[in-house]
């Protein structure tokens, strides 16, 4: 029995506003999403966001129930900031239309204990924009103790054809 299993992979054959993994079983201990993505926006790189869902929010909660804190290096400087009452968890930046067409931005999201109803759900994201000048570590909070059954990833514009996202489940026994 594998401890880490691929629950689903999405490879975009056409541009899309978002990618949603829903009907996630609650049988794992942790979730991880690995992403290689690019945005259509007319810039060198663009923001990428996470929203989460449960049985009371279908497919995901779009309310102002998220907090996010992050630090990032942009060119030769480092920054950090925090926001609350947000509509999503802002996880970082991915390459966009002004970047070389072969450039996509990687992002790994760890969502621990997602099915534990004694805890709000938190996510830890590690990101590089692909363009070469932005790297970031983010922690985010969804103020909801429900079992997570949906994960949505979206860009600021559409994410482009060729974007790939895989959701993994990690067991604890």
């Amino acid at each position: 029995m594998a401890i880490m299993e691929a629950i689903a992979t999405t490879y975009l054959e056409a541009d899309a506003a978002s990618v949603t993994f829903d009907d996630i079983p609650s049988t794992y201990e942790h979730l991880q999403v690995r992403i290689s993505a690019r945005d259509v926006s007319n810039d060198f790189f663009e923001s990428v966001y996470l929203q989460l869902g449960d049985t009371g929010h279908s497919p995901v909660d779009t309310g102002a129930n998220y907090s996010r804190q992050y630090m990032y290096a942009y060119t030769s400087s480092i920054y950090s900031a925090a926001q609350t009452s947000s509509n999503d968890i802002w996880l970082g930046k991915i390459a966009a239309a002004k970047s070389d067409s072969a450039i996509y931005g990687p992002l790994i999201i760890d969502i621990l204990d997602y099915a534990n109803t004694n805890k709000n759900t938190t996510a830890l994201g590690s990101n590089f924009n692909g363009y070469g000048d932005y790297v970031r570590l983010t922690v985010g909070l969804w103020d909801d103790t429900s079992v997570v059954n949906a994960v949505l990833i979206k860009g600021n514009g559409n994410v482009v054809r060729g974007t790939e996202m895989t959701l993994y489940g990690i067991k604890s026994s």
Binding site: D110, L112, N118
Partner: protein, 176 residues
């Protein structure tokens, strides 16, 4: 042969000052500890630390990128008696909120070199106030070439991990 293997999993049914994984087999290539933890310290945040093989000596070094405000910094230290200052929420943080920490013990059973760790941790909170949240990326060495057979997750002196804190230790295999 499975790549990921569960060595142990603990969800605290009551507060505890530490969580230990003992008699760890040397048969894996790497270890990774995934923790979702909270402290009962009276403040807003606290730290989770690690020791290996029960070594309480000053044999731990560390370098980190760190922030809990609008001004991130870098820190380094030698001669520590434990590793890492992983941020976790404490009693003053938003209720039911736990910190996320992923710690890799690379090549932990190779007796030709010192054990290396890398850890990423984050404590979110419904606050933008300085020192009410924290993020850290840290690397470190244990100045000992022994194979790791024990990992202890520790609280700061006098504090406990609270109920529902979880700790899962995985053994990661290579090929062959």
């Amino acid at each position: 042969m499975a790549v990921w293997n569960v060595i142990g999993h603990t969800e605290l049914g009551a507060s505890a000052t530490s969580v230990s994984f003992t008699s760890i087999s040397a048969s894996y290539d790497h270890l990774v500890l995934l923790s979702s933890a909270r402290s009962d310290d009276a403040g807003v945040y606290d730290f989770m630390n690690f020791q290996v093989n029960g070594d309480t000596g000053t044999n731990y070094t560390r370098t980190a990128l760190n922030t809990n405000s609008g001004t991130p910094n870098s820190v380094a230290g030698t001669g520590g008696s434990y590793w890492t200052y992983n941020y976790i929420p404490a009693a003053g943080a938003l209720a039911d909120t736990f910190g996320t920490c992923e710690t890799w013990f690379i090549d932990y059973s190779n007796t030709s070199n010192y054990t290396q760790i890398m850890t990423r941790s984050g404590m979110s909170n419904n606050s933008t106030t300085d020192s009410q949240w924290g993020i850290r990326f840290e690397g470190g060495l244990w100045l000992n070439t022994a194979a790791i057979n024990r990992v202890d997750a520790l609280q700061e002196s006098g504090d406990d991990f609270v109920q529902y804190s979880t700790f899962t230790l995985y053994g990661i295999n290579g090929a062959g």
